[in-house]
């Protein structure tokens, strides 16, 4: 149906801002909902609204049932002749959707040339082997060939018998696959100023970062670091739950990260990702400078990507973002983003992963 294609192209041009700039202000996102392991994920697709006279109902609607649910209600709307099915997604599919939605480039792992043997397949043939692997057809063909060459084969009386040297066996050939190791280090500031809302933002963002990076490597290792004035390594669960109070000393976190990288993940063998989330209010100016030094001297040489996300609670405005920006603006391994609210997560992911490193 070529006509719909031309309408679709027109719509895409409008969305990309090529034509009809003034319509861009109506651009919102329709959310398609899907479920993933009990977690509801939404898939944003661009949507342009034509304004109409409508009521401002303040989210009132009529529903049916016991009223319990996931709270993802969308009023009383319904599509003609369509009904919504729940969809199960694997993390890989989610990563693919994310990549499509945000137009992310594929990650180019370093160390492509490194080979590692991993598994193999029965693709070869040899003349000796266990009887259980005997290839009957090939053995028979070999015997037939021998008889024909010797001139003893009689087509009117096709009798073929195998001798020892006719036997052929399947054999196992090892296969080499390129191997790239990857590790992700997540660090989060858990000082008193990081509230639940901020942690939720970090959780959402790290879920998607994880999904995308995992789609490009096998067996990704993750390390979680929390810090306030001092840093420590924790497990995933504690990472999102822990609530400390106290000040923020960023250098403590970067020192710990540098040590972990040095001890466990030598740069030549690992693709390393380091994401740090904080509100950016560091204890002192000196410590900020020291932190930046650690990043420049110890961390960056080993890292594929250093992502810094500044989660800004209402009214706070940390200055560490600016410290990093003035210092590393030209370095493409450093990605900085500010997260004033949940909506900023998408842009932040894009700025972290948009480089394809």
């Amino acid at each position: 149906m070529p006509r719909i294609e031309s309408d679709l192209n027109r719509f895409r041009q409008i969305v990309r801002g090529r034509v009809r700039e003034e319509l861009k202000k109506h651009l919102g996102h329709t959310e398609l909902f899907g479920k993933q392991g009990g977690r509801v994920v939404s898939i944003p697709i661009p949507h342009l609204d034509l304004p109409h006279f409508t009521h401002d109902t303040g989210g009132k609607g009529v529903g049916q049932g016991d009223g319990a649910g996931d709270g993802s209600g969308q009023g009383a709307g319904d599509q003609p002749g369509a009904h919504i099915l729940e969809a199960e997604f694997s993390v890989e599919e989610l990563a693919k959707m994310l990549g499509e939605a945000l137009e992310l480039p594929r990650i180019r792992p370093k160390g492509d040339d490194e080979l590692a043997s991993r598994g193999g397949r029965y693709t070869g043939i040899t003349t000796s082997g266990p009887e259980s692997l005997r290839h009957f057809k090939r053995s028979y063909r070999q015997a037939l060939r021998r008889l024909i060459v010797a001139g003893t084969y009689d087509p009117t009386n096709p009798k073929v018998s195998l001798v020892r040297s006719d036997r052929r066996y399947r054999t196992w050939k090892p296969r080499s696959l390129p191997k790239a190791n990857a590790a992700i280090l997540y660090a989060m500031d858990v000082s008193g100023s990081m509230g639940d809302e901020q942690k939720e933002i970090v959780r959402t963002e790290s879920f998607w970062l994880d999904a995308w990076i995992r789609a490009h490597y096998q067996g990704v290792r993750t390390v979680y670091i929390v810090h306030d004035a001092a840093a420590k390594e924790v497990d995933r669960d504690a990472f999102f739950r822990i609530r400390e109070s106290g000040g923020t000393v960023i250098s403590s976190c970067y020192e710990l990260a540098a040590r972990i990288v040095e001890e466990r993940f030598p740069a030549q063998e690992w693709n390393l990702y380091f994401f740090h989330f904080t509100d950016g209010e560091n204890y002192s100016r000196q410590d900020s400078d020291r932190s930046a030094d650690i990043v420049a001297d110890k961390l960056l040489p080993a890292l594929n990507l250093f992502g810094y996300g500044q989660v800004e609670a209402l009214g706070t405005r940390g200055d560490f973002y600016d410290v990093l920006r003035t210092r590393f603006d030209a370095d493409e391994r450093v990605a900085l983003s500010r997260l004033p609210d949940r909506d900023a997560v998408v842009d932040s992911i894009k700025s972290f992963l948009g480089k394809g490193l």
Binding site: M1, R3, I4, S6, D7, L8, R10, F11, R12, V19, R20, L23, T30, L32, F33, G34, I43, I45, P46, H47, L48, L50, P51, H52, F53, T54, H55, D56, T57, G58, G59, K60, G61, V62, G63, Q64, G65, D66, G67, A68, G69, D70, G71, S72, G73, Q74, G75, A76, G77, D78, Q79, P80, G81, A82, H83, I84, L85, A87, F89, M97
Partner: protein, 505 residues
């Protein structure tokens, strides 16, 4: 456009059509087309029609449908258009039992299209009309540029719902109404008298009063429109200084809007009616034993409820069944209403068997608003677990606000009256004697969504070519919003009135 129906399906169609006739359904000839999912999505984006005028909004719909189909979020099973013959689509690769279900469902819709009174005026050759609309818009785009025409269409579409749902049921206004000078020719009603008695027979104050009343009546007669006009689109079409192609574009938008109006007005009834018949036909006549489980699975998907969203299939189906049960057992009328003993009510059965007749009558005469107003009962509400939900401003989640019958019914009626859209009327086409358009919003306790209202007004200036104003109420204060083509206008109503008065003085 599509392939011929395979023989096993056309045999099924014949069978199902036979059952439908036997059960008393009547319809135009129904034509099924087999399409693949891409065609199905494209057709759905076009509202079921094979051709529509070029517009980006179909492309957007298509993108949305394709995406959610690819991710397995939904699948369109049936689509049917109100036309003679009635066209319906079957999705290639669906299981046989699904195809049968869709066919049975479609015959329900086809019967509804033909018999419901709200559809009586619709153009039954709409497929052809839509194709003509497409040709017309393409021609305008070739002459005047894609962008200019598209801009105008966007503006027109943003007021496409400002039509008069009642217009189709009223006689057209008389063309040559009483000429306005009829008022002028009447004199002030001076009685004959001797000059020396004139002051007493015709008191000057009274004569002056009469004179003023008559001049006011003359002014009134000049009013355009004479009465507030609901069909804003039609009014603007007649009176705005439009270019030929603009008039044509606006007219086709209005035609399509009137065509789709009954489908918006009868969503619950139409889907309920079709579901009522597909369940009846499938379970009593069509299904083979092996197909029962698949059918049950699919049907329960269609009528599934999810929190925060009203399923018209479910609501309509249950309400039709409830009505059938009530009229079969005689649970209606004054005697039933007067009975307040629960035990008796529960056992109530007058064995009237009027249910089937009643539902046929309802499908002819009602639209969603009247259907729910008349037949929604407290018992039904409780049994179906209907509730009013409200967004919690703090958590951003929908929560149950009320389960009381009155609240639910009020919310439902609000949602289904005028499609849940505000009522807007034209009051004056010559506002301030400057040829400006004045609209009024019939405020019913809910404000307009402001940002959109302002943009609609801006869009209207593109059509009317002069400033446009709208009287409404914002946060309990009467206001006049508007747009003069370059910048928005916002006036407090009392103050504005004051200003005109001072100027007059």
């Amino acid at each position: 456009m599509s392939s011929v129906l395979p023989p096993e399906l056309s045999r099924e169609q014949e069978r199902i059509e036979g059952f439908a006739r036997e059960l008393g359904l009547t319809f135009f000839r129904v034509v099924f087309e087999m399409v693949d999912w891409k065609q199905m999505n494209a057709l759905a984006a076009y509202g079921g029609f094979p051709t529509r005028y070029p517009h980006w909004r179909w492309g957007m719909e298509y993108a949305e449908l394709s995406k959610s189909y690819e991710y397995g979020l939904h699948k369109i099973y049936e689509m049917v258009i109100n036309n003679d013959p009635t066209y319906a689509y079957l999705l290639q690769g669906n299981a046989m039992v699904d195809q049968k279900l869709v066919m049975a469902h479609v015959y329900g819709h086809a019967d509804f299209f033909l018999n419901n009174v709200y559809y009586a005026h619709t153009n039954r050759k709409m497929i052809d009309a839509m194709a003509n609309h497409a040709t017309r818009v393409r021609r305008h785009m070739e002459r005047h540029g894609v962008e200019a025409v598209e801009r105008f269409l966007d503006a027109s579409l943003s007021v496409e719902d400002l039509i008069d749902p009642g217009a189709v049921f009223r006689a057209k206004p008389r063309q040559n109404a009483e000429p306005t000078d009829a008022v002028e020719s009447k004199d002030v009603g001076r009685l004959p008298s001797k000059p020396y008695l004139d002051r007493y027979v015709n008191p000057p104050a009274y004569i002056e009063e009469r004179r003023q009343a008559m001049s006011a009546a003359r002014e009134e007669a000049k009013r355009n429109p004479p009465q507030p006009e609901r069909d804003v689109l039609g009014f603007v079409l007649m009176q705005a200084p439009l270019e030929g192609w603009e008039r044509d574009a606006l007219e086709l938008v209005r035609d399509e809007s009137y065509y789709f109006l009954p489908q918006r007005q009868t969503k619950v009834m139409n889907e309920g009616w079709a579901s009522y018949w597909h369940t009846h036909m499938m379970t009593t006549r069509i299904l083979s034993d092996a197909e029962v489980i698949d059918y049950a699975d699919h049907h329960s998907g269609t009528v599934a409820v999810s929190p925060g969203r009203l399923n018209p299939y479910k609501l309509g189906l249950e309400l039709f069944r409830d009505i059938e049960r009530r009229w079969n057992t005689g649970q209606f009328g004054p005697e039933w209403d007067a009975c307040d003993r629960m035990s008796e009510r529960r056992r109530w059965d007058r064995k009237l068997g009027l249910g089937r007749d009643k539902v046929f009558e309802i499908r002819r005469l009602h639209c969603d608003a009247t259907f729910l107003d008349e037949f929604l009962t407290q018992e039904f509400c409780e049994q179906q677990g209907l509730f009013v939900s409200k967004k919690n401003a703090r958590t951003g989640q929908d929560e149950v606000d009320s389960r009381s019958f009155d609240d639910v019914k009020q919310a439902l009626l609000f949602h289904f009256t005028n499609g849940g859209r505000p009522v807007i009327e034209v009051i004056d086409a010559n506002y301030g004697n400057r040829g400006e358009l004045l609209l009024a919003h019939r405020h019913v306790g809910v404000d307009l969504r402001m940002d959109w209202a302002k943009e609609v007004l801006e869009n209207l200036t593109r059509i009317w070519k002069r400033p446009v104003r709208l009287e409404t109420v914002v946060a309990n204060k009467p206001k006049r919003l508007g747009h003069d083509g370059t910048k928005p206008i916002e006036e407090d109503l009392e103050q504005a009135a004051l200003k005109t008065k001072t100027r007059a003085r």
